[in-house]
Symmetry: C2
Subunit: 245 residues, 2 copies
């Protein structure tokens, strides 16, 4: 169906986990120095994913997890009838593919929203290794648990917030994650369309656009297409807290 390009062996340009600037965000968190090379040994290949291409698709056989080195992805579910739901946006240091463990097949599509690069983590090797390294095991479990908690947060958003509250929560989440990665929290470029934001938030693209305009009128954001400047983060937070109701 889609052309999967061959993974690239890293050497001689191997970027080891221990020298990766994402090691404080990614899988190796909390792994001791002397155990790190065990992990590096299984995370040996990398893959480039051009913008618009799938990293994997729903139904693909599951064999590996992917750690995002650079770039930006969305994951989305497309049910047989045309319904489509973006279930998340992922950035550097985050893990893709956890959905595949349960059934040995991926259950969603992961699409690159910009030219990206991922580390391939063969899942069975990760299982084997995490039986030996309890720190790795612990952190892997934490990652899965946090994904569950994150999803519950999205359910809260979809189930009980109104349009502007949803967009405010989304923007806060995005800026926080960017800040964690050392980017400015006040100036950012959206990598996704209004339609994709809308799908994630359970809104139509027009509603997303209107909410952005409203925020601009209220002096909360400065919006120029995908170029966003956050002028009043506190106001966003207040919206999420539902102070108005």
């Amino acid at each position: 169906m889609h052309a999967t390009q061959p993974p690239v062996r890293l050497d001689p340009f191997k970027v080891a986990c221990s020298s990766c600037n994402l090691r404080e965000l990614c899988l190796p968190v909390g792994i001791a120095e002397d155990q790190m090379e065990r992990l590096e040994a299984i995370v040996a290949t990398r893959r480039a994913v051009p913008r618009g291409d799938p990293l994997f698709r729903s139904g693909d056989a599951f064999s590996s997890l992917y750690a995002i080195r650079t770039g930006f992805f969305k994951t989305c579910l497309s049910s047989e009838d045309g319904r489509d739901q973006v279930t998340g946006f992922q950035m550097a240091g985050e893990l893709l593919g956890l959905d595949g463990i349960g059934t040995d097949r991926h259950t969603c599509d992961a699409i690159a929203l910009e030219d990206s690069s991922v580390c391939i983590i063969p899942y069975h090797q990760l299982e084997d290794l995490s039986r030996e390294l309890s720190d790795l095991q612990r952190h892997f479990h934490k990652i899965m648990s946090r994904e569950i908690v994150r999803d519950h947060g999205v359910m809260l958003l979809l189930g009980s917030m109104r349009a502007e509250e949803r967009l405010a929560a989304f923007m806060l989440n995005l800026t926080q994650r960017l800040r964690t990665r050392g980017f400015s929290a006040s100036s950012l470029v959206l990598r996704m369309t209004r339609e994709e934001i809308g799908s994630y938030l359970g809104l139509k693209l027009e509603t997303v656009s209107r909410a952005f305009s409203k925020f601009q009128d209220d002096g909360i954001l400065e919006v120029k297409q995908r170029q966003i400047r956050v002028l009043d983060a506190d106001a966003l937070q207040a919206l999420v807290n539902g102070s108005s109701c």
Copy 2:
């Protein structure tokens, strides 16, 4: 805050995993006979949770997972402002508490919707054991992954379905899980209120009630308060598939 009743040592009425009628649904799936007793050794205590009581609350320290032996639970998030979201309903054989792994604190409330009984699974012991038993490790990972996939399904529901479609999907999910447990798929008693269903589905209780009435008028369900009879499961399925649109 809430009175946690002391766990009960099982013996002399110990119900071992190996003789539990939920072993094909619960944590021990795929565990070899000779490894089972290792698991039984750590799942040694049980706890009764009367209807309405919390098994745990958001903010409680996390130390154990809980396998439901009998009964029915809801998990819900309550954000500081009065927003409230039911994130799931759990029945016998399902695991509660996975949300706590990531932060060592529970992030939601788990409330018994009827008198229930759970097996206590001390988490660190489970981690230790799953480093030795790869079958246990594998299945535990599958359980977590499936929870993530389930949550994505709820996001699809909340983000893109209309009221009757949501309720249809909910009823189908419920009957399927009951069937798996050997109950009739056509006759069931709801353990939760309309308000709780509504919270889970992102609807108000009146809307849930109206949808039930509509299904009754259409001959799809027979509804007498919480007593439900499914007359036309195919029609429910057709609704979920969005045939009308």
